[in-house]
């Protein structure tokens, strides 16, 4: 398979980036998208050129590190799939593929396709946890009954891998799907009730401070999320926030 790749190249955060076109031959349909990028980088190395920087870690769809907007879609054209799990058989010989980094003021480019997603870490640190004394007498998790429906919903929310595709897909670069998933996974469980008020207040405040945009309910985040996190989480966050600010 022969491909034309148009890739965003940017030396560092402050440098002005540009799209650079590369021709790549010998791409196999069974390769993952990241393996295709590896081959490109080998080629560039062999030519003495700077390889393309991109984030990756587990390469099995669970870490959320890989982050590329492929032909305008975060993680590419295949639904419920991270870039590392996207295979080149989804493309055709002779295709031109445009590859860009997540674009958001809150996710500054570090280099090429690699962006700084520490804004998500700070949102999580603002309240995405429960305080539990683990000094030897930890309560068995099964000792607290949880309704099956709530347990399932909390689990689905917790499958968010924090990749940032929701922000990348949203026309407003809003982080509400991520933040709401992290709030929901605790809001649905009895263990999360103790800190429910401060959690939603602090996480929403941090989300706003990071400079993400406002949610306008287009639903693009849910469509592009590789884990299928639902918009319902955002509605739940809105309820939780109103409850926290009015009732307390």
């Amino acid at each position: 398979m022969k491909l034309t790749l148009k890739i965003w190249r940017q030396e560092n955060t402050n440098a002005k980036g540009k799209m650079v076109t590369y021709q790549l031959d010998g791409v196999d349909g069974d390769m993952s998208f990241l393996e295709m990028m590896d081959i490109l980088n080998e080629d560039l190395n062999n030519k003495g050129e700077e390889p393309v920087e991109f984030d990756h870690d587990c390469r099995e769809g669970i870490c959320g590190a890989c982050s590329m907007v492929i032909n305008g879609q975060p993680h590419g054209p295949q639904k419920l799939t991270t870039t590392c799990q996207l295979h080149m058989r989804k493309f055709k010989d002779g295709d031109t593929i445009t590859i860009e980094p997540w674009r958001a003021a809150a996710f500054p480019v570090i280099k090429d396709l690699m962006v700084d997603r520490s804004a998500f870490d700070r949102i999580q640190q603002a309240g995405g946890y429960i305080s539990v004394n683990t000094s030897g007498n930890t309560q068995d998790a099964n000792a607290i009954p949880v309704e099956k429906e709530n347990a399932d919903e909390a689990f689905y929310s917790a499958t968010c891998i924090g990749c940032g595709a929701c922000v990348a897909a949203c026309k407003n670069a809003s982080a509400m799907l991520f933040t709401s998933a992290k709030i929901s996974q605790y809001a649905l469980l009895p263990q999360g009730q103790v800190e429910a008020t401060t959690r939603v207040e602090n996480m929403v405040r941090q989300m706003d401070l990071e400079g993400f945009g406002n949610c306008t309910n287009t639903g693009a985040c849910m469509v592009e999320c590789p884990k299928g996190i639902k918009l319902e989480n955002i509605a739940r966050m809105n309820r939780e926030y109103l409850k926290a600010e009015t009732i307390g």
């Binding site: 305008g72 674009r103 958001a104 809150a106 897909a169 406002n214 949610c215 469509v223 809105n238």
Partner: protein, 222 residues
């Protein structure tokens, strides 16, 4: 509470609440207007009531104007903030692959509706204010039907009405249902009933306004 006022979620609620208020207003506006087709005398009677009732004129009308201003100003503020959140745009676009054109372009449909409202205010509200407070004419409960039919005589005005209401329908198609999601309603996602209601309403009411404009234009021509 101070955090609530400043938060991005509060901005969503302001948009949703002001939008829902305008939806209610649009419904009552339609109910009154449709009487001009089926019962002109009733239309005259209700229009006169709306034009001279002190509660409507001095309480509801200012609230309505405030609701319109809040909705549009907040919409423009949000658009500016959202543009700042992505200073460098993507080179490639997914088109409608992950979100509908209507949901992505509420600012365009909204601004067209705003422009139409300028014309609408000039046509009816400014004229009404001049009639009552500048020319200081006596009350005439029989004038409204004839005035309305006369307004729809020029084809250019009818064409503008049709364009504006088609765009309003598009705006409502996303906005009406979306307002419940912003308010945190569970049923938006769990039940389809509310969603279906908002979609049907978004088409029927603007289509009704278009019908009224066409009816009076054709009626006048014939």
């Amino acid at each position: 509470m101070s955090a609530l006022v400043k938060s991005s979620l509060a901005r969503k609620w302001v948009m949703a609440l002001s939008g829902l208020f305008l939806v209610v207003f649009l419904t009552q506006h339609f109910v009154i207007n449709i009487t001009s087709v089926i019962a002109p005398d009733t239309f005259n009677e209700w229009s006169h009531f709306m034009g001279y009732n002190p509660l409507v004129q001095y309480a509801l009308q200012p609230v309505l104007i405030a609701g319109i201003i809040i909705h549009f100003v907040m919409g423009i503020v949000l658009e500016i903030q959202n543009n700042k959140a992505r200073p460098i745009k993507y080179k490639s676009s997914p088109g409608n692959a992950n979100a509908s054109w209507v949901s992505r372009n509420m600012i365009i449909t909204g601004l067209v509706v705003l422009a139409f409202m300028g014309l609408h205010m000039y046509d009816f509200w400014v004229h009404e204010m001049a009639y009552k407070y500048v020319e200081v004419n006596p009350e005439d409960p029989t004038r409204y039907y004839e005035e309305t039919v006369e307004k729809f005589a020029p084809i250019w005005r009818v064409v503008l009405y049709v364009i504006a209401f088609v765009l309003l329908a598009m705006h409502l198609w996303h906005g009406f249902n979306s307002s419940f999601q912003s308010m945190g309603a569970k049923s938006v996602n769990k039940g389809e009933g509310l969603k279906k209601f908002t979609k049907v309403w978004s088409i029927l009411i603007p289509a009704g306004f278009i019908f009224i404009a066409l009816f009076h234009h054709l009626n006048h021509t014939n």
